[in-house]
Amino acid sequence: MARVMRYVVTAAVVAVLAMGTGPAARGLAAGATPLKIGLLAPTTGVAAAPGHDMINGWKLWWAQHSTTVAGTAIDTTYYDTGSNPNQALTQARRAVEQDHVNLLIGPYLANEGLAVAPYAEEHQVPLFLPTVSADDLTQRKASQYVIKVAGWSSSQTTHPAGGWAYDKGYRKTVTIGDEYAFAYESVGGFAQTFTEKGGKVTKQLWVPLGTTDFSPYLSQVTAEHPDVVFVCVVGADAVHFLQQWTSFGLKAKVPLLVQETVTDQSSIRTLPPEDVVGIIAFSHYAEGRDDPATQRFIANYANAYHALPSYMAAGFFTAAEWIQLALEQVHGDVADQQAFLNAVRTVSVPDSPFGPQRLDPYGAPVENVYVRQVQRTPARYAGDAKTWNVVLKTYPGVSQFWTYNPAQYLKQPVYSNTFQGIAK
């Protein structure tokens, strides 16, 4: 008898679990049930620091605003992706299949995002990407479930850079990029617009991720005598690059333009001002932007965490606002997933720390791109950061397609180490 009972109980448990992962549990919950959000962020492994910034930005918004929006409670669970695509996918599964979240937000690394995106689409769970910028997720592989809420696309900030550099009188460039998709796309955006104007790319150097010694690459830069150098490296590579760019004497000799990750707060935090002051980056975010929304955000952030926020922190802060605005628009009703996602797609955030943001039909933001420069922080932030990024020029409302016709643009392949869009 006991055995039969055990069998029945087991069967019941299995049935409940199976139903739980069935279609009924997918999508957004009904009525007054909370909006359950799974936040995927690396809090261990190589990307732990940006992961903490993401969580800090998210928590800052909800510390200032009620987590009940239009009668719907927002319930966030945090999942550690371990800076690893396999673990990111496992954690996304856990969030969706065991914890029944209605919405995934994160992760950080492009390869984590690429691992999670197909899963989210297959299970019809919305995935919001405030930091993952891989071009194709909102271009050739766009999906109605994968949306760059408060995010950006890799080549979105570097398309304006090519024309800017040409107009400055630069004609010959060498590029340096980390050997992976994010840098291929970032450098490609610059290379395409620079060469279409008539500039020449004389050499492209791809360095392995985790390069500590840039001196062999710098020796090639010197040998090429370029007018300007364009660089896209991330994390610790950015710190090494900036240090050696100065100590091998290039900072004084060769103009340098960079993708925003190179001079993001997360990289320049530990570097002495003389290594970084004056460097120009192209970005969707600038913590030193002279605007009340940006300055309110960074003052609150500095107050809470004693550091100036990176773009990852700003992305998750703004994504929280975005979700709040969309929820208000649907009066807290998340039972109709399509209605909620439509609200997310049509909401515009007029005064985010990034500036005005809205989404294009492909799920990527249309937003300002800044030409920004590293400068010493003013006295009020001297205890939080040595240097920050101030805006020299604003390109308002830049699309991920720049000035190209989207249909035409999508006919060319995504930027890679073999396709850089270079005009002959």
């Binding site: 732990a48 392995p208 985790g210 010694d213 001196s215 062999p216 690459y217 040998a223 610790a236």
Partner: protein, 285 residues
């Protein structure tokens, strides 16, 4: 063009000199105790972080170097206590050191966070020298000299002291010197301490070049392996020559064939494995 070659020769020598600080301890521990101490580069990482903490508290660079080394030596000896009973079993000791590596990495992340840190060189060497058209950071030049001094000190200990005689004999035939009544375990203890000290002090010495960030140890480990495979297990001279060779080959590989940078490092390794498996200066077993 002369500038190009000069920069890469100097850059390669500096980076190779840095590798020697890791590889020296690695090869001694490996040669004498047959322990493949995977944690050697994690010791280096802890050395950078401890050293950076000292610098941030105003300790002068050259004082912080031996303190960082001593701190890591103490840590190393605690690990050694666990490791010692298993040292004869190569697989168990290898797996143990992998376990300790993971623990050290996570401990470093918990204590010092994940932001990449830069380590300032000592103020007297914080400038760049100009040699014709070549600009080169003076600390990188100093690295070549520092490493040479440390190598000379280690050669002296190995050649001219009783401890050195025991180490050399132990590398050749451990059972025989045990049979002669020599306290080999004491030599093990000292060698492990020296290896950990070198890695810890080397951490801060190398810090102005490598910085400190999670994953640094994993970047250095394959290079340290390459060095001792080329140099020969248990040979200090081999480790020194191997370090400079890997530094130069790596640098010129990246400068001349940037798409093949990893490949160029492991070409000499593969060649040595095929033609001279005991390494350049290793002994046949």
């Amino acid at each position: 063009m002369a500038t190009f070659y000069a920069q890469n020769v100097l850059g390669g020598l500096a980076y190779g000199s840095l590798l020697f600080l890791i590889a020296a301890g690695f090869t001694l521990i490996f040669g004498l105790m047959r322990i493949v101490n995977i944690a050697q580069t994690a010791f280096f990482l802890i050395g950078v972080y401890v050293g950076l903490m000292l610098l941030n508290h105003g300790v002068p660079f050259w004082v912080a170097v031996p303190i960082a080394g001593a701190a890591v030596a103490v840590l190393g000896l605690l690990i050694y206590r666990v490791l010692h009973p298993y040292h004869a079993d190569e697989l168990t000791s290898l797996l143990l050191t992998i376990g300790f590596t993971l623990m050290l990495e996570d401990a470093a992340l918990a204590v010092w966070g994940g932001d990449p840190q830069s380590v300032p060189p000592p103020p007297a060497l914080a400038f760049s020298v100009q040699l014709g058209t070549l600009v080169f950071p003076s600390y990188w030049l100093a690295m070549i000299g520092i490493s040479l001094l440390i190598a000379a000190a280690l050669f002296f200990v190995e050649r001219r002291t009783t401890l050195g005689a025991v180490i050399r004999a132990g590398v050749d035939d451990e059972e025989m010197i045990r049979g002669l009544g020599i306290d080999v375990d004491r030599a093990f203890f000292i060698v492990f301490a020296i290896g950990a000290f070198l890695a810890g002090a080397g951490g801060l010495l190398g810090g102005p070049i490598t910085g400190a960030y999670p994953g640094l140890d994993g970047e250095l480990l394959p290079l340290a392996f390459a060095v001792i495979i080329i140099g020969g297990i248990g040979s200090l001279e081999g480790a020194y020559i191997g370090s400079l060779l890997i530094g130069l080959v790596g640098t010129f590989g990246k400068a001349l064939f940037p798409q093949l940078s990893y490949f160029t490092i492991f070409v000499p390794v593969a060649a040595i494995m095929a033609l001279r498996p005991q390494g350049l200066l290793g002994k046949k077993r």
